[in-house]
Amino acid sequence: MENILSILVFFPAVAGLLGFVVDKKSARAYGITVAAIEFLLSLWLWFSFDSANAGMQFVEMIPLIPDFGVSYYLGVDGISLFIVIMATLMTLIGMMSMSIKENVKNMIVTLLFLEMTMVGVFVALDAIIFYLFWELSLVPMLYIVGAWGGPLRVYAAIKFFLYTFAGSLIMLVGLLFMAYVYHNLTGVWSFAITDWYAMVLPVNYQLWLFAAFFIGFAIKVPMFPFHTWLPYAHGQAPTIGSVILAAVLLKMGTYGFVRFSLPMFPDASVMAITPIAFISIIMIIYTAMVAYAQKDIKQVIAYSSVSHMGIIMLGLFAMNAEGISGSVFQMLAHGIVSGALFMLVGMIYDRMHTKEMSKFGGIAAVMPKYAVIFGIMTMASVGLPLTMGFVGEFLVLLGFYEISPIMTILAGTSIILGAVYMLSVLKKTFFGPITNEAVKKLKDLTPLETWSLVPLVLIVIWLGVYPKPVLEPIDNSVKAMLTFMHEKAITPEAKEIIKVPQTIMEVK
């Protein structure tokens, strides 16, 4: 089955269209089934994925607008594979744990379209197709936040849409210029990312293009100071929205950096290391402190995502396999952990109808299961060894140490500050005497909730103890990328900084 990627992309969309016909009451079951099938398909993708091969696999290529160089061009490598799987998994889990009551059907349909766009972004190998899914993913999210969100939902939704949209339009200009340069060099129009990889650009071009792409990606990540849409989006979005947003949509930004900025502009990337590391450190420390100041438990998680994305950004610009593989792995870790945390927060919100931590306290006594799972996820998010969070964070910091010890120490404070705000959440929410009467009446997790969370717990521990099956393919592709960045780099300092690992496997 060579066209499995197309199936992966369009199956949810088709299912979404058909979903309009499905009766309201059974819509949810329909959605879960579809998402499950999609997830199995993605697992199949993994199963038939050749992890010894560092290059693009399952490649499909159909010219769409030859005169303009646009073609329908898909493929996965170790880097994108697992993000795709995570996207399908989180959609499935999110639907299972979904607590929305009113127009469930619209929600299901919207989610299925969203899933299409998410998968599409990560498997697209044509810049325009990438851009297409990238932009399209805003629409369902706009609807989810706007229709099921909190009191400020419309403001939050529009802010999210416009902010990202504006950024990505600058990126679009970058894409077009890239194509123009490619056309000048080769006389052919092409938006194929793999073609662009082959281009060696003069440094000033690289810088300009890097800047253009940076704006698009940085807003999505979101990097300080472009992050302010995130707290609103998360704060207002329904649980499922936050889950998808944190788990997958934010990864689009960082993925963009891996897919475009690093391999296309190696020299510019090397020059950008210091500023980006600087921003990342601000993200890590500043947002961690802001998170500590929050009263609303969901906002804490929201800001903590920004902080973790800082770690990821830092790793991407470590320019060595340890750092980059680590940060790709950290994308998955953060996706699953923060997704789970948002689900947990949603569950308590469904019971208490508030997210104010001051209203909680002593919940551990009445909801032990909940407390245990929350505790595990907290530990994963503060990067405890043998949880998923540690592997990524450790590798990132290890990797970046080679670039700058001082900055690594600063970034390393995340393990302290992370503990500070997460533990204070635990203390305020779960520990201490029960002050609020409502808490006494709380029911522990329902079986459905439990079973939607347990898989995540298992994954978090499994990949914390034995990350190899995931880390190895990622690492292979990253090594291949680094080797080729090193070859491509023009400036000597870039060649020096981009570290080609001793143990490489050739791209088939």
């Binding site: 593989s325 060894p385 080679e402 503990a419 500070v420 520990f431 005497p433 690492d475």
Partner: protein, 632 residues
Amino acid sequence: MMETLVYIALFAPFAGSLFAALFGMGKRQVFVGIVASALLFISFVASVMLAIYVVKTGTPIHVMMMEWINAGDIRIPFGFVVDQVSVTMMVVVTLVSTVVHIYSIGYMDHDKSFNRFFSYLSAFVFSMLVLVMSDNFLGLFIGWEGVGVCSWLLVGFWYHKPDQPREVNPSISPSWAANEAFIMNRIADLGMLIGIFIIYWNTGTLQYDEVFAQLPYLPQWILDAAAIALFIGAMGKSAQFPLHTWLTDAMEGPTPVSALIHAATMVTAGVFLVIRANPLFAMTPEVSFFIAALGTFVAFFAASMALVNRDLKRIIAFSTLSQLGYMFAAAGLGAYWIALFHLAAHAFFKALLFLGAGNVMHAMHDELDIFKMGGLKKVMKWTYLYMGIASLALAGIPPFAGFFSKDAIIETAFNEGTYVLWIILVVTAGMTAFYSFRQVFLTFWGDERYKQYGIHPHEMYKFVLVAMSPLAVLAIIAGFFQPWFHEFITTLLPDYEMSHHTHELILVLTAIVLAFAVGGIALAYKMYAKGLKRDPKVENSFIYRLLANQYYIPQLYEEMISKPYAMISEALWQKVDLKIVDATVDTIAKFFYYTGDGVRKMQTGNLSNYLNWMAVGGVALLVVAALSAVIG
């Protein structure tokens, strides 16, 4: 065969933990405790067998379980090594934990979270074993963090207790103390991580043997950096100044926890790290000397706080701190095997001491103020006996274990010619003797002050007392193994011999130390044996209050760190994030909106204005065109 033993020793506690976890949320089941203890006993037996094997063959056992992290060029496996050092630790850890487990069956019998307790406790033992058995720095770090978490869980075991003001309860609440402990350790762990990074990027590996093999080829400053970074990690776990405050607060946890984690095992991890990495520290004399100096300082500093404290467990906690100081002093001075020996001996008598304190607590219905006790020896002989033995050992009175180990450390200080350290350590020995016996006398001797609080103390269950006996025996006899232990351990650790000069003076030195120790006991006897005589003048004196308030360091941290951090965070959120960063974005949006409002005013709807606009436009075009014609 031996490999299986290694795995048994390692995973038996883990199994116990999981088993207990199965019933974690259920109601109290005695068999859970029994099973857990049994599994630990198995682990203990396995450790002993391994120890015997290592003693006999003298060859370490090295097992490679599986790969863990492979990325870029880094290869980190789950590998375990059982050599002289780790096997010693294993035996000590498993022995003490077994005792503590059995003890807990009795101690926690009224607690509704009985099962949960055992799952945590066994989990802790597992992590501790990972820590000591790992064959690489990152494996050690796993255990390092693991024990941290378990300690967090166990200190905060009674999470439902509310926060209280410092005056009422110096460690605000169990959950607070737990978080404090975790965060302080995290601060140190960062140092440790950095150390690991330094080692990796300079040696390309994290396996102990490979790393140590490469050390000689590294520049001195890198060695120093690595040593400092690692030691920062050690400072956190072993609660060395200035990261010491969490240890006394950790006493909020159940007493068995204090006995196991905060006396016998976890807190010694820092010392273990220094001993483990002795090749590194041996090459960095300055750092080592700093370690010794800091250790000595902490020994004295902690002892001074113990002098006036009224809280049974806190006194013992301070003494733990002080003894850790001794161990670091020894390690810093290069006497690694002596440090390890003191570590083991200390584990036995300190655990015994804590468990005894637990009995007292149990008897006094969780009352800890020794001013409210007294005369307990009538009702609780065995406990009295145990605590007496333990205190004697702690005070370093021959022939108890503490004498041999501690005396050796003090001699080392003399032998190294660091006389200042030596003097301080000697004085501290005296103080140690004083506060431990102050506590013994106030608790067991004199008038029965508890009566006026209407408490009816009773002796602990028999099986508990029996369970404690091995520790008592070891507290007495452990010292005599010193020569044998010496030649066993020095097959791995660098040997440390006293110079002739010291040998000649050895009796004098011992005499001096003993004099201080006995003096301390005598003073304590004179002041407290007849019962409590409080002197307001003394208690209000500046020194007394300074010591009683731990030099106001917790308050200082609160004022200088916690509160400012909270304030800054709040400010960053309210002032910067909302008022500046976010506001800017909205302003840009508003700008366009208001421009729109402004521009649309030209759309008056009046035709003649429109016509004028056309004319104006025409003129404007003319101007622009003319300009560009002139310019370009």
